[in-house]
Symmetry: C2
Subunit: 450 residues, 2 copies
């Protein structure tokens, strides 16, 4: 059943385009799912992609447009007239249309909206553009089935059938009062089995799960996931029903968030893919590398201040990368666990308890590792005892400090309302490198005396 | 609308339990969503948690059971009799019941299954237990609405109503032939608008999206996400419809996978949360630290072989942590991008092109960074030119090698069918530390000559 994109398929399509075999091309693409068409288009040259966009009808291309990579979409939209874009948007649900239109320049945006024939659809899109794209308002669609609590079941059925025309998946029928305030919801099953003279107000399930237009996307995802919801209604500040968010948008949101956090932890500051341009990839990677370089310069300076030790204790310097690496690894481990706890809101209990636990945990890990190092070093490699002790004590101390930094920097950032994901990867490794080296040589100075 | 767990709520419930106010407790918990009950129970002592489980009816507790943290669930199940567990399972969908039962010991499993009253439900669960839990068979539920292609619309309607009783969310009505082979699906809308004398075979939509019982969970998630599916049917080797997977299970799967990849990249080898026991957390973190320690020992040895340089070129050693840190950071960046490409199957094109691109990209990044370092070092800090050149050339070389390792180790592992996520974090940083130091001193030897 699975469509698998291949070089043969791409070449076949390129040949059809080159030879202008429109009918054959249309016939071939008719059978292909719009998500697969998007995959094909992503692999084509811009003029070929535009050709396909102009050839297929907007019902199909509008759905493919949503699935394209941002770069390609931007370039195709540049090649389409305002009227052509308006036709695409006309076919889309309001949430998707708003996403597309928000990528255009202000001037283009206005032109496209002016070209839209369906006034109501255009108005809905304009409304959605007001909200931050990572808020419930920015994620919701205006398409939903809504009935008044005062209606009868019979009146409701016919109204509902009319509304359902525009809604791809019904999920729930929402119940509002005369002022449009969300009162609750109905299942299709309830509606079908209720006596036809009953009023909606007698049979609806009072509202329970809903979000506000300003609720953050992350929170929406968390609620829908926790309560296994397939759709959630969105209300404005007055409690009026203004839209709904469906689970498929949240799935994309979850995946995007996870990708972003993962990249941030790896020191990549923009959303990139392996196939993006070199310029784009460089821009995403260089800033963190510069930070790491500056951190490295600090560690050079720190090491330089201990040059007196070099003549007597050469081996001390050989252990620098080991100490730095351990500090970096421990810091990243601690920060990763705390970050996931912060993201899922599952971190509970006092800071003091967490501090004690982290110290105990690092003490355990540190002692096990130090023992391994001392036994290996003193017994097998013939280190001086005091030297072994220095490295061992430093290792334990560095691990404790590094894990505390890894644990508390994200917590503190979170309390200051800064994205704690900033504090993973390069940031934690770089600062832990520096602290690690500083602690190591300070301890060496005390034990070995130089 | 949101329930927010707090210390007051926990204490209130603990007081009610202690004072044996069962009626009040039941009344209080009746209003609370099962996902929130699970959150409360996770915070209680085992005897309190068990008390609540025995107090509430199994319709409510069975749903809460699914949402509990694994530790707590395991301990509560230990406290329940086989009959009590069987009652809980009776209330659950088959996929959830199979997940729970697979956590029990072999002996206990048998006892619980023997105690189940609904033979068919038990048989379904036993069938699901056969599949690997990360396969479509292990994720699917047996609950679905299925009609025969030869039925009439009228006959279908009544049969469907009966079946829908057991299915929480219908999504789609699946159409099979006399042998039970999946033929396609019907929407409720189609069924309602079709002439009542029509046969199902005239109106169904031929099958398109489905998976096999052995399809991997990751692939199921990818397909459902790509095609925006809310449910997907699962067929056996004979093409017979045996179950279906709904989007809510896939959402959990995606989140779990993302968490696991993130933790793996951070050097955490088991699925842990910040609130897990110290022992559990240590076990998850220590193995990677031991690996990093052993890697560190190798770098100590490598540095030791260059001790001849120490007397003449002290400053060389001061730059070791900088070089190692850059190698580590670049490696993690490259591997993260490749890993995401592998996971989403969006990596296309030849290895040679990827190699050229990665070299070009690192050359760009490396030259920018080396320039910064040389200008800073020679002009501002007064380095010797040859020394600055050594560090600069090393930096560019190390960045290129590190990015090649970060790019190709995951690709090679993936081709060998080993999880490429293994190759992120500590593994990449540690090996790049070693290679970085080796390259740095080799270049220094050539330029500075020692």
């Amino acid at each position: 059943m699975q469509f698998q994109i291949s070089d043969e398929i791409i070449e076949h399509i390129q040949t059809l385009i080159r030879e202008g075999k429109d009918a054959e091309l249309q016939l071939y693409l008719e059978e292909v799912h719009h998500a697969d068409i998007a995959e094909i288009i992503d692999e084509l040259e811009l003029d070929e992609a535009t050709y396909i966009f102009k050839l297929l009808d907007s019902e199909k291309t509008s759905e493919a447009l949503m699935e394209l990579e941002e770069d390609m979409r931007e370039r195709i939209l540049d090649n389409l007239s305002a009227k052509e874009i308006a036709d695409e948007l006309q076919q889309m649900d309001t949430d998707d249309a708003a996403d597309i239109i928000s990528e255009l320049s202000e001037e283009r945006k206005q032109e496209v909206i002016d070209q839209m024939e369906d006034e109501e659809h255009a108005e809905h899109i304009v409304e959605l553009l007001r909200y931050d794209e990572d808020s419930a308002g920015g994620m919701m669609a205006k398409e939903l089935v809504m009935v008044n609590e005062n209606w009868s079941v019979t009146g409701c059925m016919s109204e509902m059938r009319a509304q359902a025309e525009n809604v791809t998946r019904v999920h729930s029928i929402y119940v509002v009062d005369d002022k449009g305030k969300l009162k609750g919801r109905l299942s299709l099953k309830d509606l079908l089995t209720a006596p036809s003279k009953a009023n909606i107000s007698d049979i609806y399930i009072p509202k329970r799960d809903y979000v506000n237009v300003h609720t953050e996307g992350e929170e929406v995802a968390r609620i829908m996931q926790k309560y296994d919801l397939e759709a959630i209604p969105v209300v404005d500040e007055m409690g009026r029903l203004v839209g709904r968010i469906t689970i498929d948008d949240v799935v994309d949101f979850i995946r995007d968030e996870a990708d972003r956090d993962y990249q941030m932890a790896a020191g990549i500051s923009e959303d990139v893919e392996a196939d993006d341009s070199i310029w784009h990839l460089t821009r995403a990677r260089l800033p963190w590398l510069v930070l790491a370089l500056l951190g490295g310069m600090v560690s050079v300076t720190v090491l330089g201040t201990f040059d007196a030790a070099l003549a007597e204790h050469q081996a001390l310097f050989f252990f620098v990368p080991l100490i730095a690496a351990m500090a970096g690894n421990v810091g990243v481990q601690s920060s990763a666990i705390v970050l996931q706890g912060l993201a899922s809101k599952s971190l509970r209990g006092s800071l003091m308890n967490r501090l004690l636990k982290e110290v105990l945990l690092s003490l355990l890990n540190g002692m096990a590792l130090a023992l391994l190092l001392i036994v290996g070093g003193v017994l097998l490699l013939g280190f001086d005892f005091w030297f072994g002790l220095t490295v061992g004590v430093s290792l334990v101390s560095v691990i404790i400090i590094a894990s505390l930094i890894g644990t508390f920097v994200p917590i503190i950032l979170d309390r200051m309302n800064i994205d704690p994901a900033m504090a993973t990867g390069p940031f934690i490794t770089t600062s832990n490198d520096i602290f690690g080296i500083l602690i190591y040589f300070s301890i060496a100075k005390v034990i070995l005396g130089f």
